[in-house]
Symmetry: D2
Subunit: 287 residues, 4 copies
């Protein structure tokens, strides 16, 4: 495991990742942060940066234009094709959200690669800073404590599970809605009040905070009507989300779309999650 790493582009989370790897005693080369004072006299070339490492760590997402590595803190473009050209078959590249074309090229060049964003454990671990970020928003935007409040989590997937556990731990009256009876059984088992999705209308009126995790329209005009005007809605589902925000505005219900919480609320934890996932990837390859 005495691997050398090159952090290739990315935002501050990538930088934190580099620091965490160093703290673990790994050799790390940072490339693509020349806009930051700390790194602006980088003299190492892309070729050297690539050659340095056993493992090249790309950002999340790996690219935003499909041509260059996503590197918001670099004045230089980092061409994906060049990166691959510089790599040898002994090296591996790990990044987040490779697209199909990238993966095809990697395969053609016979370069070992892995997409950390596709890893189930990364999704699980990422749910933690997401949930905690959502709780922070609820604390900031309501005049009541979460303890003893009526809160409901819509959906019992990864984020729903982590979020409901934390809310329960703080002392809220936690409701969780789901459609599947087995999910409802799990919800009850963990001590929360289970709500079948079809019964939402009955439960919504007394809620202080509604957290949505379902990535499709769920809080439509109809359901919004049953929500109290003092209630806060926090939508954690990726765009377009699960809330009719326009209708909410008209009804003067506070509704917030909260995305990218891990990077915003807890960038160091977000970097740790990637680091742990990278270690798992490497360990599995070794075996």
């Amino acid at each position: 495991m005495g691997f050398k790493y090159t952090i290739l582009g990315g935002d501050k989370r990538s930088l934190e990742l580099g620091k965490l790897l160093m703290k673990d005693g790994r050799d790390v080369c940072i490339y693509g942060f020349d806009m930051l004072e700390e790194y602006n006299n980088e003299t190492v070339s892309l070729n050297e940066a690539i050659e340095y490492a056993d493992v090249i760590v790309g950002p999340l997402p790996f690219s935003t234009d499909n041509l260059n590595v996503n590197a918001p803190f670099s004045n230089k473009a980092i061409s994906i094709d060049m990166v691959l050209d510089f790599m040898s078959e002994k090296q591996m590249i790990i990044g987040g959200k490779f697209n199909i074309e990238h993966e095809k090229k990697l395969k053609n060049k016979n370069i070992k690669s892995s997409d950390y964003f596709k890893r189930e454990e990364m999704q699980v671990l990422n749910a933690i800073p997401t949930a905690e970020g959502a709780i922070q928003i609820a604390m900031e935007k309501t005049p009541v404590t979460i303890h003893n409040s009526n809160v409901i989590v819509l959906g019992y997937g990864r984020i729903g599970r982590v979020l409901s556990k934390m809310l329960y731990g703080i002392g809220a009256n936690v409701h969780v809605s789901a459609r599947k009876y087995s999910d409802l059984a799990w919800i009850k088992n963990y001590g929360y009040i289970s709500v079948h999705t079809k019964d939402l209308k009955t439960y919504l009126p007394k809620m202080n905070v509604v957290f949505n995790t379902i990535p499709q329209m769920i809080l439509n005009k109809e359901l919004l009507k049953s929500i109290d005007s003092n209630c806060l809605i926090i939508d954690l589902a990726s765009k377009p989300g699960g809330v009719d925000f326009e209708a909410a505005r008209e009804m003067e219900i506070k509704a917030i779309s909260a995305l990218g919480l891990p990077g915003k609320a807890a960038p160091v934890t977000a970097a740790m999650v990637i680091k742990d996932t990278i270690y798992n990837i490497i360990e599995e390859l070794d075996v």
Copy 2:
């Protein structure tokens, strides 16, 4: 939902189920308990018992000989073929563990049926009396409290999840072993100590109780050697289980195979689980 029910055979759990249905205000006919004093002057015939109900509720397992309904408290054989002959297309039959032949017959006769044992929510809910039964055994067979003991749960499926949560709630130092990194992430998220299966040997020596939920040989001679002689092993996996009992006996390690715990440790709860599942089945059919 004003359905009438006939409880057709089964053990005391089926009888409890009948009582619970009555408590809920349902009309219930009990058939196949003539060996019990309370029911020994049953004058109703099988045909009448079948005709009486909208829903026929069979036992778990439905049959042990594939010919007759499983009815340990009846002196009369209850022929499955006769039951099906007496039924009409308006009725439905719900039982546990139908075999393929039964299901074929039901289909041929166009009779609505459902196997409650195949329902995911029943499996989840059944994990609760299983886990609690296992904890009771641990309390009875060890001279230490579970609180502050080192315990490990092997496997993080349904029973593993429910059991580790309860042990944690009592205050044990809960370890849970799994192979998948995503399971390990969940284990950590719930506050337990996660142990990769390959590292069991390191953790086993300091355990006070080992609960196995994995239905294949896991505690083999090799691993048993690392277990303390005061440790108690409780195997919850169905036969042949996951423990080399012979080797355990030779090493004088106490190992218990604990099966059928719901019916033994909490028959009324076990009946409730079936009742709730039946209600879910009926509700889904209605929709």
Copy 3:
């Protein structure tokens, strides 16, 4: 319990209290908020406001100058002597932090009175918004999640108990320090890591957040030296608090004095706490 109430002065928390009493169906007169638009055409006189009610509810603190009732949203001075003169023996006055002189006057006039701030249950309930406010600050000011962080709570009084429970519920590695062995036993019993005060030096270096609840100098220069520069200190003890802030600033350790959290982080909850306490006071008097 069909009592009439007069809210006499106070800040927005008192106003929320009035609204909560009305929500419960009580008759409420609001006096002393003429600076707020909503109430600026109050035509009722002090005498009328006093006469109106069975229970006069004063603010927390009752007075800041010992002459007038504390009424930051009123242009008129509300003389305590006049209030008492207008009151009859059938009425009662409830306020927070009466001083000795007030209590003497109340006794002389034979007026029933009670200080809600002295009530143990109010102190307990107030610990909840305090703890939650502290957690909100920790979430805002650290780049890591509380989940899986190393946190320590200094002191195991009311706030310490509520705070450690919530931190544990979120998934932190909760340490709590105390001096008494019985407190240390309780700390262990609740699943936290117990730290004897004399061993703080050993535990502080690995902490991400330190919450102090002890109202005397505890984090002195000597102990601050053992704290990591990335650690956040939140001091919840009333002035002068338990942290050498000057030394912390010199060492570039972030230290925050967080006071009055209930009113700031959750004013509606803070009002509920007072309301519940008032109800308890009234119920006890009736008996």
Copy 4:
């Protein structure tokens, strides 16, 4: 702390205590177990046994007849006066439940002594095996799981607190009754349903298990009438306890008096509790 210990009399818990001290690497002399095969060729005299140690550890209770040390596994009487005569001022004696006369003699002889039973932390730690023993009984004697059952704990002292926490951790619907509003506030804070003692009659009818911890008559004939015939009552309060057992028998309500649970349900844990308390005593004396 390199002290030598003599275990002087007592039951199997004292013997376990001796073994635990040895496991910790202490030198230990066992005296007063000659009825057990393992120790029946003890050749050491009482004088030698006393001289051997820095700390003499007596049983709990120290004496049952006020003349001799309580030693149910010894054929020889161990005179308290002789023990004290053999001791010097350099030694100390630690026991449980010294009576006033013993303490007077110890003082006269200038012998350091301490009563571990009087230590608050011992009472707290002892509440754990008591609570767990009570839960074991509830599991054994009811046909339902504790999970999802309605249970009530009468009294919120040490045992009440530990017991309600464990029941909650298993997933029961935990009710706790108390008289003081501050206790009721704590009960709510921990997530349990708080019941004022005067409202017991309203809550008792739907309970599956009632745990009493109050050492005075509480479940009298009147209240027993409101209890369901399937309900189980477990009385943990010392004799005469808090239940009218005669009335319960007449009404055919199952009521169990469960005393001495630590020694019965978890003798090794009970010994650990004494050991930890002894260490605390010694550490405090050193300082």
